[in-house]
Subunit: 168 residues, 2 copies
């Protein structure tokens, strides 16, 4: 087995997104057991100018989707940010995973030197594919997934690191 | 440029650890400006049974150090968890980065199928090198780095995503 751009991207995004969906299931169950409105959790944030849980999930999804689309050189499907409930957030994850799993290894492998151009706020940033994946997409993706986990832990949802890492 | 086990590991760990050191500098400046005891921040946590900031930094360091040592097949130096102040935590990061940067690409490249055995709590886990890096070491490392950032943001330190991602 040789490390490849595909191995380092699509399956890892899909794996973590599935862990995130299972984490949302635990949050839903926690809310139901304690008669907490789940919308309180999906709107929870760690600081007033940080993203709320729902937005963390949306950005994690879009970071993964965008990375797979850009590295494969295929159109990046637009997913509107309309989700509020856990069921809606899980559906967002599901359609993101379906997109990721629809891309074949050969479409991403060899993309190390592919020119990637994207807007980061007001800046237009240019990367080579490998630098984009390792230096931006993966840390940004894990940042939002971990912050989603942190928001739920901060609100008392019983989660452990294994919920984040999954079975590897 | 071809993606390799070295490219996907050592330089990424070192880059994020340097971002984390710069984040600790901002936390120190924040504490001084507001006459907050910095030890309050290094002992801060998001929930009573989560790790405090200092421990998040220590675990991030050890995850990176352990991954580089195991993939390279060299002895994993033991760093005692004694740090409390920001200066001590930055020194911990510095010695971790020095270790990581002392390992040469050729020592890590080709480690995709290397047998990795480690203890995770009570479990002994076996991985191939690639699965260990992509499925455990990187997400675990970014989890602890992101949670350190989240703890500081939650406590009012002014940080932005760019402090986490760094210049890529």
């Amino acid at each position: 087995m040789t490390l490849s751009m595909y191995q380092a991207s699509a399956p890892r995004f899909a794996h973590m997104l599935k862990s995130l969906a299972a984490i949302l299931d635990k949050a839903q169950a926690h809310a139901e057991a304690r008669k907490i409105d789940p919308l309180v959790l999906s709107a929870a944030r760690l600081y007033p100018d940080m993203f709320a849980l729902a937005r963390q999930v949306q950005v994690a999804c879009d970071t993964a989707k965008g990375a797979v689309a850009r590295l494969a050189g295929v159109e990046n499907p637009k997913h509107e940010d309309t989700e509020k409930t856990f069921a809606e957030l899980k559906a967002r994850i599901d359609k993101t995973v379906a997109f990721i799993e629809g891309v074949k290894p050969a479409q991403i492998d060899g993309s190390e030197d592919r020119e990637i151009v994207m807007k980061l706020g007001p800046r237009e940033v240019q990367w080579k594919g490998m630098q984009y994946l390792l230096g931006f997409a993966l840390p940004n993706f894990y940042f939002h997934a971990a912050t989603a986990y942190d928001i739920l832990r901060h609100n008392g949802v019983e989660l452990a690191k294994r919920d984040f890492i999954g079975n590897v």
